[in-house]
């Protein structure tokens, strides 16, 4: 069997297990390529019925306008149900003091909004587009991963997962995080997107953008990212290999404006995908620490 079919089969199987085992699942949608892939796979899993659960987007308020535009387009195209939880509102309602300084990001605050969204909607399973090849803590994830009442991940005490049997039994208040595309690599995702003609937001393709250079990375210039006086803003042809919000995602210099060129570029890249993630660079265990407190 072709490896893309093998991966698709596995993901579709996981989506169906979630729909069968949980009362109130939700698909965590970031607007990035992996969550767009998740939507496409979910559609396949339940066709000809609609996806039997909503999407939830944790909106930091600092997103690329192109991502938000595409999100709304996709929701409209497939007639999906979308819940948006605003980090801005979490900040206001909880009187949270935001990070300051030139590295200020709402990345950590997303977790608070996410847990709030899960609680308010009583979601018992959250489907996330994390992949094991992305990052060393994510490489340790199960497909069904139990979170306690506080959304915490107990990495040292994960449930065994035998063969393809997924044990979704949880206590009330607990929550399951589910990762249907665990075994896909970055290249698999792109090859599948090409094979299936999946549409993506324009930020993934080479375009002209105002950027500035900091710590060897190319930051997108925007109202949310404060460049210092010696960081001059220049126009560059860039694209984004990974898309978080504008405060945590760096661009790459690229002329790849179609899928063939993007795939060639990734095949020969010297730097990993998350090498362009400013949020991962905070410490060696940045991802593990965030996951422990409930980050997806």
């Amino acid at each position: 069997m072709n490896y893309l079919d093998e991966l698709e089969n596995e993901s579709v199987y996981i989506f169906r297990e979630v729909a069968a085992q949980f009362d109130n699942p939700v698909l965590l949608f970031s607007g990035g390529k992996d969550s767009i892939l998740m939507v496409e796979l979910a559609i396949k899993a339940f066709y000809p019925a609609p996806i039997p659960f909503p999407l939830m987007h944790i909106d930091t308020g600092h997103n690329f306008p192109e991502t938000i535009e595409f999100r709304d387009y996709l929701v409209d195209k497939y007639n999906l149900k979308l819940i948006v939880v605003s980090v801005e509102e979490t900040i206001n309602s909880k009187g949270i003091i935001e990070e300051s300084g030139k590295y200020a990001s709402r990345n950590n605050l997303q977790t608070i909004s996410l847990l709030e969204g899960i609680n308010d909607n009583k979601f018992d399973a959250c489907l996330g587009g994390a992949r094991r090849d992305e990052e060393k803590a994510r490489a340790k994830e199960r497909i069904f991963s139990v979170r306690d009442d506080f959304g915490q991940w107990d990495a040292k005490n994960q449930r065994p997962e035998l063969f393809d049997i997924l044990n979704g039994a949880i206590n009330q208040g607990e929550n399951m995080r589910v990762f249907p595309i665990s075994n896909w690599t970055e290249l698999d995702v792109w090859n599948y997107i090409r094979r299936e003609n999946i549409e993506l937001p324009s930020v993934y393709f080479a375009h002209k953008r105002n950027v500035f250079y900091r710590d060897g990375m190319i930051w997108p210039a925007s109202d949310f990212v404060f460049s210092e006086q010696d960081e001059s803003i220049v126009e560059q042809t860039v694209r984004f290999r990974t898309v978080g919000d504008m405060t945590c995602t760096a661009a790459v210099e690229s002329n790849a404006d179609n899928l063939d060129l993007i795939i060639t570029e990734i095949e020969s890249a010297l730097i990993s995908e998350r090498g362009a993630r400013i949020d991962d660079k905070r410490s060696e265990a940045a991802m593990e620490k965030r996951k422990e407190t409930g980050y997806f």
């Binding site: 169906r16 000809p48 090849d133 994960q158 035998l162 063969f163 049997i165």
Partner: protein, 413 residues
């Protein structure tokens, strides 16, 4: 291009994580920023060379202690194949994680420290490979550099390992041996310059040539996961059965039977995603629409129409106990197999395996990591094949209804 799933096994400090690191490093699968990060971490630990184990030991607790606690999933590919490696822990207390990794792989690489020879963990992991009907086992004799690359060391270990295979009845045509040094890089990707006496392939060479047998059983088994009922204008009375073909194939027009009830119908349409297809084979996640409306729900197995319906509520199985709490014979557990679940009692522990002698003995105590044979009585008939006969439809898990924990994995005998 196909995917090959591999898991590592072996005792603590046999160098499993270092081997994976070496494989990735020598196949140039590591991007520069990851190498830089490992370089930095190695320097912080006061090491002169790259600590290749840091590539897979991703948890803080693992890095602190220099051990592997849970499975890391590592990906790399060559021109002809894609590999997913489950790097599993060697400590006895994390055996459940080793079993997790092994159950989802086709090849087990069991590492042995050439200085230490066969340990209890070697035997345990080989037996687990047998328990799981692992397709291939590669014995990797590591740290040959510390034994002066001595041929005799390798040959006598090989003989001893063959004896163990014979003792537990593991098929010899499914085992191979390779002498390596993961640290130095001998016979991992590059052929060793220190072991001219070894003419076999490197580890990568072995993996590239590996001919994995498909599931030999072609009995049709389809586990229903979910019933799809769109209730839309276009599909008003549509009822489709979403699930996975475990073995065999199904074609449009074939007659099928619901195993629990014996009711029969013919396949009207098969969908893969939104495309209608004419036939579906092993591992395919599809949706089946039948000609007649018959009673089918999650947990049902569809088979070919000429097979006998199973009414058996009794089951003899081998278990590998995974939970910290020992098996409690007075307790009822939940047996799960695909979408099917039922309450079961363990009527009797027939025998348990002694990892020292590799013989089964009469003992009723089933603790964490015990492999045993049990008699199970279920509340509802269980439709499973003999695991040896059909690997894809012969396994189950037991769940503790009080804790929700997966306490055991079992295979039908």
């Amino acid at each position: 291009m196909s995917i090959i799933r591999i898991s590592t096994a072996g005792s603590v400090d046999d160098g499993k994580s270092t081997l994976i690191g070496r494989l990735l490093f020598d196949t140039k699968s590591l991007p520069q920023d990851k190498i830089d990060a490992i370089q930095l971490s190695s320097e912080k630990k006061g090491l002169k060379e790259l600590d290749l184990a840091l590539i897979t030991d991703g948890l803080t607790a693992e890095r602190e202690q220099g051990i592997t606690i849970d499975v890391a999933h590592i990906f790399f590919s060559t021109a002809s194949r894609k590999y997913i490696i489950a790097d599993t822990p060697g400590h006895v207390e994390y055996t459940r994680n080793m079993v997790t990794g092994a159950s989802n792989s086709q090849v087990s690489m069991i590492l042995i420290d050439a200085r230490k020879g066969i340990l209890e963990q070697t035997r345990r992991h080989l037996f687990i490979a047998k328990f799981l009907e692992m397709e291939q086992v590669l014995f990797v004799i590591n740290k040959m550099d510390l034994m002066d690359y001595n041929q005799q060391t390798f040959e006598s270990l090989k003989d001893e390992l063959l004896d163990v295979c014979v003792a537990i009845d593991f098929p010899l045509d499914r085992v191979s041996f390779v002498p390596i040094s993961a640290k130095v890089g001998d016979n991992v990707v590059e052929k060793s310059k220190h072991m001219d006496w070894y003419s076999g392939p490197t580890i990568l060479g072995y993996l590239e040539q590996l001919n994995l047998r498909a599931n030999l059983n072609d009995d049709f088994r389809f586990n229903v996961q979910y019933v799809v009922r769109p209730q839309s204008a276009d599909f008003s009375d549509f009822r489709g059965y979403a699930g996975k073909v475990k073995s065999g194939t199904i074609k449009v027009g074939d007659e099928i039977q619901v195993n629990s009830s014996g009711q029969k119908s013919r396949v009207l349409r098969i969908f893969k995603g939104n495309s209608p297809i004419l036939e579906a084979g092993p591992e395919a996640s599809v949706l089946i629409e039948l000609e007649k409306a018959i009673d089918i729900s999650r947990g049902d197995t569809l088979t070919q129409s000429h097979e006998d319906v199973v009414h058996d509520k009794n089951l003899i199985a081998q278990l590998c106990w995974l939970d910290k709490r020992p098996l409690n014979i007075a307790k009822k557990y939940l047996l799960r197999h695909a979408g099917f679940q039922t309450i079961v009692a363990i009527n009797e522990v027939v025998k348990t395996l002694d990892f020292d002698t590799l013989n089964f003995m009469v003992s009723k105590l089933v603790e964490q990591n015990t492999i045993c044979e049990v008699e199970i009585k279920a509340a509802a008939p269980i439709y499973l094949d003999n695991f040896k006969r059909n690997k894809k439809n012969g396994y189950f898990i037991l769940v503790d209804r009080d804790t929700n924990a997966t306490v055991a994995v079992g295979v039908k005998q």
